[in-house]
């Protein structure tokens, strides 16, 4: 499906009867060069970059539900490049640079909005940590600005600056961070991949892998066997369930993270504000709803819904930061399932099984990583060598003692 201004006018005048589906709905072929399991943001981005960067178009994306129905449609749409460690920051900086050119690249309106992200600080120690992080970001080509309390007050005068427990003392501002229309990311990548010949096969669940003599020959699915030279798992949230079918145990636990949207309000908040000390972050969507969230529910879960104690905790965080929220009604809440890894960082790697590749462990940072994850996974699949900015995302890093633990929490997944 291609679009033009002329087409929009013509369809407006003729009752919108000429629009066709944005991507094809093909039956699977017997075999492909690459089969990607999972039609979420990362899987579709991988297919897109395999076709665009590496000329590999004999590719299928297989999805058990509908594309974009998982975590790419269940997040709070934030993009940022504000990590500390060398294993992470170059990767997220590549991702943010790709976001900046994404709409022109795949010619689809993803509403990328670099409205800025402000991480609040409340103590001298937090300010020191923010300064260190900001310097690490700048060294890796990102941007960071340390604000004092007056700087924060000029941006968001309505915050509660004199909270007794967490008075606001300043913040780390990342101006290039922002938000994106998340569904459009899936649709844009799907359209771009489909136009280049990738088969997107929905309602096709993987039921097993065909592995002989240590080599993966393809996948068993609800639509029959599909052969592949390379099989690429990309199902964060369900990674353990899928890879278990290949006999693998992963350094991952699945946890539920809730998010919330309020009723539509007039514009009040033009950026993203995070209140880490109070487990709360918030932005305002273009429709006017405040989009916010907090901490994990903390226990292993595959249910795409959480429990009330966390709802209460998030609302309390919101009230502590923005007392004016007290009269806002909450409209919707939902939960997404996170691959929480043992050090809080992801994986983009080959497995010990020939021809089987793994991408997952994104914790609650998967959405912002979408373009770079696809870019680097496509690089790995096409060349069999890791992309240089994703070279640390190896499955054996715990065995080697090379964890990428941004928060320094150790092997306790729900604390990352």
């Amino acid at each position: 499906m291609r679009y033009s201004g002329l087409k929009v006018i013509k369809e407006a005048l003729t009752g919108h009867k000429g629009w066709r589906p944005t991507w094809r709905d093909p039956e699977p072929k017997n075999s492909y060069d690459v089969v990607i399991i999972g039609g979420g943001g990362h899987g579709l981005a991988t297919a897109y970059y395999l076709a665009k960067n590496h000329g590999l178009t004999n590719v299928a994306v297989i999805e058990k539900g509908w594309i974009g129905g998982g975590n790419v449609g269940r997040n709070t749409t934030i993009i940022r490049s504000n990590y500390l460690l060398d294993g992470n920051e170059p990767f997220y900086e590549l991702s943010l640079k790709l976001w900046e050119g994404l709409e022109q690249d795949f010619n689809y309106n993803a509403m990328v909005s670099q409205r800025g992200i402000l991480n609040l600080v409340h103590t001298d120690a937090q300010r020191d940590a923010a300064r260190r992080r900001g310097n690490a970001m700048i060294l890796n080509g990102s941007d960071a600005e340390l604000l004092d309390v007056e700087g924060v007050r000029a941006m968001y005068p309505f915050l509660n600056f004199s909270n007794a427990r967490f008075p606001i003392k300043g913040g780390l501002l990342h101006r290039r961070g922002g938000t994106v229309r998340h569904d459009a990311v899936a649709w844009g990548y799907a359209r771009g991949a489909d136009l280049r010949g990738v088969d997107i096969i929905q309602n096709c669940e993987v039921t097993g892998f065909r592995i002989e003599n240590g080599k993966c020959l393809g996948v068993e699915t609800s639509k029959g066997f599909i052969g592949a030279n390379k099989v690429a798992s990309c199902v964060a949230g369900s990674s353990s369930r899928v890879m278990e079918k290949a006999g693998m145990r992963l350094p991952i636990e699945s946890h539920v993270l809730q998010a919330f949207v309020s009723e539509g309000l007039k514009p009040v908040l033009d950026g993203v504000v995070t209140f880490g000390a109070g487990h709360f972050y918030v932005s305002q969507s273009d429709k006017g709803g405040l989009v916010f969230g907090g901490d994990l529910d903390m226990y292993n879960s595959y249910a795409q819904r959480g429990n009330l104690p966390v709802v209460e905790d998030v609302m309390e965080g919101g009230m502590a930061l923005m007392p004016m929220l007290g009269r806002v009604r909450m409209l919707r809440s939902w939960g997404g399932i996170m691959d929480m890894s043992m050090d809080g960082s992801p994986f983009i790697d080959k497995t010990h099984i020939d021809g089987l590749y793994f991408n997952g462990g994104w914790c609650y940072g998967g959405f912002k990583a979408t373009p770079a994850s696809g870019w680097c996974y496509a690089h790995l699949l096409a060349t069999d060598t890791p992309h240089k900015v994703a070279a640390a995302y190896r499955l054996d890093r715990f065995r080697r003692g090379c964890m990428i633990d941004e928060k320094g929490q150790g092997a306790q997944p729900n604390l990352h």
């Binding site: 369900s238 353990s240 369930r241 278990e244 145990r249 992963l250 350094p251 991952i252 636990e253 699945s254 903390m298 226990y299 292993n300 879960s301 595959y302 249910a303 429990n307 104690p309 043992m342 715990f398 065995r399 092997a411 306790q412 997944p413 729900n414």
Partner: protein
Amino acid sequence: MIINHPILGPRDSQEFTYLGDASLIDRPDWQAEDAADQFHDYLYLRDNPAGEHRELWFHEQGDRSWLVVTRNTVTHEILTVELARDVARARGRSK
């Protein structure tokens, strides 16, 4: 979620903190030949099942006992609750 504590009866899960898979009770033998491999698997790898999951909960704001809770990770239904001490002893720990 309500956790039916074996000693104290039904308690709100908010009184507890969560650790993780109950396999953490089975600490490997540090003197084994392959202790490094065993500790890697023990510390970092998880079954992470969708369905019944045996897991450790700590009654932090209660009697400070450790419990082994068997819970369904798809429905959040709690099936059985045992004292972790009893589970560990049944497995031959802390003799």
